[in-house]
Each structure stands twice: as structure tokens, then as C-alpha cells.
């Protein structure tokens, strides 16, 4: 990490990025750890729901923000992960951890299948094909009553004893989220992550330096769909039910909006976007069923005033202050 001798600007920059976030993140984590005994059950549930949605939005951002791909139907993989676990818990007697692993893997397999076709098309055509193939899977889940429960879904899925209380489920989801975030962060900072961002910015140049663009895009899709599958599994842990609207395209649109709202060029932005939207739906939704109207107004304002998203905005206005801190830190160290 500190090998960049003779290049102080780069090392300083990377040091800033890695340290600036560490302590606030640890602080937030500690607050979330002590929350369940203090907060009402309803809030514990809402927070857990935000964690699940945040992971889903973060996984989408791997393809949309870092890969520049038109991943228009990401919720399909969320639903596949959730249904895989739900079906394994209700229809087989396999231990639950098998389902926990099978959910994300199944989502990644479906991601590989759909992605294999999609990366052969560009931009909007990629998005249209993904909506078509994704809707196909939704239709199967929606109509296959004997297996998936059709439009009723599956309810009352038994939760394993160690996850029996809602507080335990909360902690399980929180830890799973943290592990996934660390894994995603490592991937984003890896050579693959760097290459993926280069592919996003200039695929033609990448081909000319020996990078197989399609393979990298497909890898990004498989990784992102795997994490979407994890989110799906966590949803089952939280809700103990699955239903076809998990795979419906409106949810895909919603998580896309979360990425835009939070800031898709930042690592943690989609989490913030997820928190905002889940909170809006919960608290504005209590007063009016037209909460999406409020969302619409927010989106219009966002496009005009914060095109880089909420997180991107804070990073930008925080940028000058942080640079000052960085310089004084450099002088001291």
C-alpha cells in the first residue's frame, strides 16, 4: 500500500480515501450494534429492511456504477436468491446453511446465463434484453403454482432456531451486510475493479491494451448477481415469505433510483439511497398511498441540483475540507 515511493500525490490520495471513511463507518456500525435493545421493534425491523435493500442496491451499483452496464432488471436475481432459499427450507429437509449458500449461487448462475446473452449487446439493447429475459423468469415464478406458489408466493417459511427472534435476525443481517460490504470494497479496489472502471470509461481503449471487455462485464454481472442473491436470502430471514413482486421490474427500477439518488459514482452512495427510499416509503407511505409522488418531486430536484447524487454532493462539498486535513496530516506525519 505504501510502495508508491516517489509519488506522494497518489499515496496521499489513497491514504485519504481509505482513512477518511474508516472511523465514521465504525461509529455507525457501533450505533447499529446497540440499537435493537434501545429502539422499538418496528424500527429494528425497518433498519433490517434497509440493510437488505442497501445490499441489493450496492450489488446493482457494481454493474451500473462501476461497470457502466445497463443492468435494468436486477431484482430478478434478488428474487431468485430468495426463492431458492424459501423452496429449500419448505420443500427439502436439507440443513438451512445449504440454502443460504445455494441462494446466492443460484442467483449467480442465472446471472451468468442472462449476462452471457446481454454482454453481446450494447447499452440500451443490453438493458432491453435483460428486461425481457428477466420478465420471463418472473412469469415462470408467477404462473407455476404447484412449485413456486404462483402469485401467492410462499409464506410462513420456518426460520431456523438461531434466527428465531427479530433481534437475532437483525444481527444476522447486519453482520452479513458488513461482510458483503468488505468483500465488495476489496473487489472494487482490486485489479479487477480498476479494470472494470477502465472498461466503463473506455471499452475500445481497453480492448487495445489486451483486456477482454465482455469477459470482464460478465464477471461483474456474476459477482453483482451473487450479492443480489445474498440480499434475497436475507430478505427471507427477515420476512419469512417470498412473493413474485420480488422479481418484478418495478423493484428493479426502484433500486436503480436508489443508486442514482445516493450517488452511483461513490462506493456507499447506493446504501444512502436505499435508506432514503425505504424511509420515504415507510413514513410518507403511512400518510398517503401516493408516496411515490414525493419520490418523484425529490427525483426532479435531484436531477437539477444534485446530479452526482446525495453522497456525491457531500463528497464534493467535503472535498476541500478533507484536502486541508490531509495536508496538515501530511505535515505532521
Amino acid at each position: 500500500m505504501f510502495k508508491g515511493v516517489g509519488n506522494p500525490s497518489t499515496t496521499l490520495r489513497t491514504r485519504l480515501v481509505s482513512h477518511r471513511w474508516l472511523w465514521p463507518a465504525v461509529g455507525v456500525f457501533i450505533i447499529l450494534l446497540i440499537l435493537p435493545p434501545l429502539a422499538p421493534r418496528f424500527y429494528v425491523y425497518i433498519f433490517a429492511l434497509i440493510f437488505v435493500t442497501a445490499l441489493l442496491a450496492m450489488s446493482l451499483n457494481l454493474t451500473v456504477g462501476y461497470g457502466g452496464l445497463f443492468q435494468f432488471h436486477h431484482s430478478v436475481f434478488y428474487g431468485v436468491g430468495a426463492y431458492t432459499l424459501a423452496l429449500m427450507l419448505t420443500k427439502t429437509s436439507l440443513p438451512m446453511w445449504v440454502g443460504f449458500i445455494a441462494g446466492p449461487i443460484m442467483a449467480a448462475v442465472v446471472g451468468l446465463f442472462i449476462g452471457w446473452f446481454c454482454v453481446r449487446l450494447s447499452q440500451l439493447y443490453f438493458g432491453m434484453l435483460q428486461i425481457s429475459l428477466g420478465s420471463l423468469i418472473w412469469a415462470i415464478v408467477f404462473r407455476w403454482y404447484t412449485f413456486t406458489g404462483g402469485d401467492d408466493g410462499i409464506h410462513g417459511i420456518p426460520r431456523p432456531p438461531i434466527l428465531s427472534s427479530s433481534n437475532r435476525a437483525y444481527y444476522f443481517i447486519l453482520f452479513a451486510l458488513v461482510i458483503c460490504l468488505v468483500a465488495m470494497y476489496i473487489i472494487v479496489k482490486s485489479p479487477f475493479g480498476a479494470t472494470l472502471q477502465a472498461v466503463r470509461d473506455n471499452p475500445q481503449r481497453c480492448e487495445a491494451v489486451g483486456i477482454n471487455v465482455r469477459r470482464h462485464q460478465l464477471m461483474a454481472i456474476v459477482i453483482a448477481t451473487f450479492f443480489a442473491g445474498v440480499a434475497g436470502v436475507l430478505f427471507v430471514v427477515l420476512e419469512r415469505s417470498v412473493f413474485p413482486s420480488l422479481l418484478f421490474w418495478t423493484l428493479s427500477l426502484e433500486i436503480f433510483i436508489m443508486c442514482l439518488l445516493g450517488g452511483w459514482f461513490t462506493f456507499a452512495g447506493p446504501m444512502l439511497g436505499a435508506a432514503i427510499i425505504v424511509a420515504l416509503r415507510t413514513f410518507v407511505g403511512k400518510y398517503t398511498e401516493y408516496w411515490t409522488l414525493v419520490l418523484g418531486v425529490i427525483l426532479i430536484l435531484l436531477i437539477f441540483f444534485l446530479p452526482e447524487g446525495v453522497m456525491g454532493y457531500f463528497l464534493r462539498i467535503g472535498g476541500s475540507a478533507n484536502r486541508r486535513i490531509g495536508e496538515s496530516g501530511k505535515g505532521a506525519g
Binding site: G4, N7, S9, I186, K189, A194, N202, V209, N212
Partner: protein, 263 residues
């Protein structure tokens, strides 16, 4: 090292390259010249796989490469820069080159090591050799046009190519920048060319509008006109060729003037 035999490429009804042939020997510095629209860039795109030829054969190190995808051709040892600046504008100068070095080291799919600790020395060595060390931490899009063109070359060097293809490396540069770039090309080329320390012995194929430069540094010159090869030969042969004088040079070749204006 590289043989291009009668390649053709049409866009609709327009034949951009119509029977171009070219030979590049190992260690040579070869120039392609021709008026604007002669098909030079298209020819380069055919060699490096950005385009697929309709007809003809391209052989590199004894293997046919025509029609292979660009990334495979690059992996076989052909690096290139582009005429119109083609970099990663949002990444830093360092990261621009690092992406290429990582690709060369077959690390592009590595998911678990931190990228910032990989290929650092190699990347700095390349940046130093082209004189961009001082800019390493700057965002590439903020560089001057001349530095972006140099960065183009640095990215191409990241793959440690055996054959380096430069498409108008000095286009849009000031006279001082042009002189520095030519010096860099000489330095990258074989020992005969650099006549000094720091020679890297690369085989280089380039196209360039400045005739003084071309006749000064190239060991072999290929002249293109209307997508066809008129002649390939040593600078003296090309200079004395009447067909070339009529078609392109358009001046008394014995007393070269300042050259053609840029595109």
C-alpha cells in the same frame, strides 16, 4: 515481423483500404505516409483488430492475425496509440498506465489483491521513460493535449509490446512538443536510431504528416494513396519515386518544405 498483404476494407460503398501491403522487420522504424483520407488509420485499425479486413492477410510473427479480436492481438505483442486522444479521462495518469500493465501481467481478473500495490514500479518506470512522472497523480482528463498524446504512448508501452503502432503521435502538438515526442520515439526505437543511452529497441510503425520528421527518422517508408500502397522502400527510394512525387509529396522532394498541414 509484420506482413500485411493486399488487405481491403470498405465502409458501405467507400473503399477505405483497397489493396494495402506493408512489411515491418524486427527493430525497424517504419512510417506510413499519405494524404488525409488515404486510409492510414483504417490500415492501423485493421492490423490491431479494431476493424476486420474484408480481404487480404495480416501475419504477425508467422501467425495470421487478421480478424482476431483486438485484445488477443494486443496480447500477441502489438501495442498502439490512437490519433484522436483515447485515454481514461476520469482515472489518474498513473492508473491509466497501470490498467495496461495489470492487463499485461494477467492480473485484470484478480479480485482480491489491492490494485494500488500492484504493478507500481513498472508503471512508474514507464511514466519516467516518457517524462510524465510529475503528473502521475493528476486526473488524465485535466492534462494538456500534448501530454495526453504522450500518455497515449505510455498506455501502449504498458503492455511491453514488441511492435508499437503510433497513429499520428504528434497531431495537434506545438513545435516544442513535437520535437520532444520525436526524441521519445527515437529513444524507444532500435539502438541505431537513438544513438545513445536509454534505447529500448522497439519495432515501431507510425504515421505522420511532417515530412521532415518522417524522412529524418524512418528506415522504411510506405506511401498510401486512395487506400492503396504506392511503394514501400528506403527514404531515398521513396523520395526519388516520381509516382509518389506526383501523388502526394507535391513539392520538390530534394528540398523538403515544412510538410503537409494536419487534419
Amino acid at each position: 515481423m509484420l506482413q500485411v498483404e493486399a488487405v481491403h476494407k470498405s465502409f458501405g460503398d467507400f473503399a477505405a483500404v483497397y489493396g494495402a501491403s506493408l512489411t515491418v522487420e524486427k527493430g525497424e522504424l517504419v512510417a506510413v505516409i499519405g494524404p488525409n483520407g488515404a486510409g492510414k488509420t483504417t490500415l492501423f485499425n485493421l492490423i490491431t483488430g479494431q476493424l476486420k479486413p474484408d480481404k487480404g492477410k495480416i501475419v504477425f510473427k508467422g501467425e495470421e492475425i487478421s480478424g482476431l479480436p483486438a485484445y488477443q492481438i494486443c496480447k500477441m505483442g502489438i501495442g498502439r496509440s490512437f490519433q484522436i486522444v483515447n485515454i481514461f479521462p476520469r482515472l489518474t495518469v498513473f492508473e491509466n498506465v497501470q490498467v495496461a500493465v495489470l492487463s499485461h501481467q494477467r492480473q485484470s481478473s484478480n479480485l482480491f489483491s489491492p490494485a494500488q500495490s500492484l504493478a507500481v514500479e513498472e508503471t512508474h518506470r514507464i511514466l519516467e521513460s516518457v517524462g510524465l512522472s510529475g503528473q502521475a497523480g493528476n486526473i488524465a482528463g485535466s492534462l494538456s493535449h500534448g501530454d495526453q498524446k504522450i500518455l497515449e504512448i505510455a498506455i501502449a508501452l504498458g503492455n511491453e509490446p514488441e511492435l508499437l503502432i503510433l497513429d499520428e503521435p504528434t497531431a495537434g502538438m506545438s513545435p516544442e512538443e513535437t520535437a520532444a515526442t520525436i526524441q521519445l520515439i527515437k529513444q524507444l526505437a532500435g539502438p541505431e536510431q537513438s544513438r545513445g543511452a536509454g534505447a529500448q529497441g522497439l519495432t515501431i510503425l507510425f504515421c505522420e504528416h511532417d515530412m521532415d520528421v518522417v524522412f529524418d527518422i524512418a528506415q522504411s517508408i510506405m506511401v498510401m494513396h486512395h487506400g492503396q500502397t504506392l511503394i514501400q522502400g528506403k527514404p531515398e527510394e521513396v523520395r526519388m519515386n516520381t509516382q509518389v512525387q506526383e501523388a502526394y509529396l507535391g513539392f520538390d522532394a530534394a528540398q523538403p518544405s515544412g510538410g503537409e498541414p494536419d487534419a
